[in-house]
Symmetry: C2
Subunit: 222 residues, 2 copies
Amino acid sequence: MYEIIQKNPLFRGISSSDIELLFNGGIYQIKKFQPKDIVAIQGEPCNHLMIMLSGTVQGQMVDSSGRLIVIEEISAPFAIAVAFIYAEKNDLPVSVVALRDSEILFMRRDYFTDILQQNKTVLLNYLTVISNRSKFLSDKIHFLTFRTIKSKIADFLLKQSKQIGSKVIFLEETQQELADIYGVARPSLARTFKEMEDEGLINIERKKITLLDEIKLKRLAL
Amino acid sequence: MYEIIQKNPLFRGISSSDIELLFNGGIYQIKKFQPKDIVAIQGEPCNHLMIMLSGTVQGQMVDSSGRLIVIEEISAPFAIAVAFIYAEKNDLPVSVVALRDSEILFMRRDYFTDILQQNKTVLLNYLTVISNRSKFLSDKIHFLTFRTIKSKIADFLLKQSKQIGSKVIFLEETQQELADIYGVARPSLARTFKEMEDEGLINIERKKITLLDEIKLKRLAL
DNA sequence: AATGGGTTGTAACGAATGTTACAAACGAAA
DNA sequence: TTTCGTTTGTAACATTCGTTACAACCCATT
């Protein structure tokens, strides 16, 4: 277990033995979840730090018409709800749902506060993690403000392409999963992909997408 | 100046004299801005903490079609960019524009880090501030995922009403300003207001809005 | 090879929103 | 009071997207 925790950004640079010392005294609890189990519910207060020990969960928001929007996926060794436990209104903004068999370590905020005060490295790590988190959320807002689906797709494809360093992208998600990430309807997504192909921006062969005109794509994504 | 800084949530519970000590040694710089002056530009790295000493600024995002989205307004004695200075990719997600004559204190991240290490109260304040910030951004995302303008308006009116404790709301913003906050077109906003009046949800007399059917409004806003 | 569940492609239609334009109403300053 | 810039109300039309439905396709299993 401590090897996994050691890989968590919060405990970067801390030795296994130090982690063992910090976690000593039964200050945590480990729960197991199966796929589709609900780990935490949108709107409920969040007083625990949750560290993924194995598996994957998904942060989901539901809007007024019942549409599902996937905010993010989190796998071991990362943590959930890091940024909320110290907020004055600390109710969770998302529901957390297990995608696979998962083990999650729960630690009460008080105990985590003790760790922060005991260990300066963890504290500085925490500052970085929570700042990155704000950046992530801001980027998400930026993404959601794209008005057209075409802009969202252009942004998504360019980021993917940059990340893997190739103009040929193999999609790992189904159209439905992409649609949930974008917060759009699946057929609308497919239609837009086709329009972009017709316009010569990309080439699509099922899951394989080739970027043909990056200049126009960049213009679409700002 | 120190009286203003003392009112900033980061320095809550710190005495004026202690603040004077912390800020001693020319570790900051004060700049003045006039309305429409640009304080910081979207996409540029952000290595300074900025504390408003007077005036008001606005955080704005621009999307691919040139639409302006107002993320927030910040006035003295609050701070700007608190949540980003420690992020690994610390480029600002918004542009900051002065709305009124403003004085802003700039402090390099290094110096602020020193303060965090010197003073535990400031550190704990910082954790709360940055957590609140994440909560704010998440709420913003939740708001942006409302698909219809009607839902956005319902959510906005209910929050306003709850805040002032009255069913009668006097709008402080122009329609254009509201449209920028919502990320919608101004005539679309006016049309939707009218539709909601036709449906008996609200009553509108120019800037005065009366909530008539809170149950249906709540259903719209989830 | 045949079957069946899931994924993708596509079309028709309606709903929501954006765009543009202009008139009416307001309010501050002359 | 008049004037002028700003704000609001409203309409017509275009665009984008959602909804629903169904066929084509893929692929793992039988």
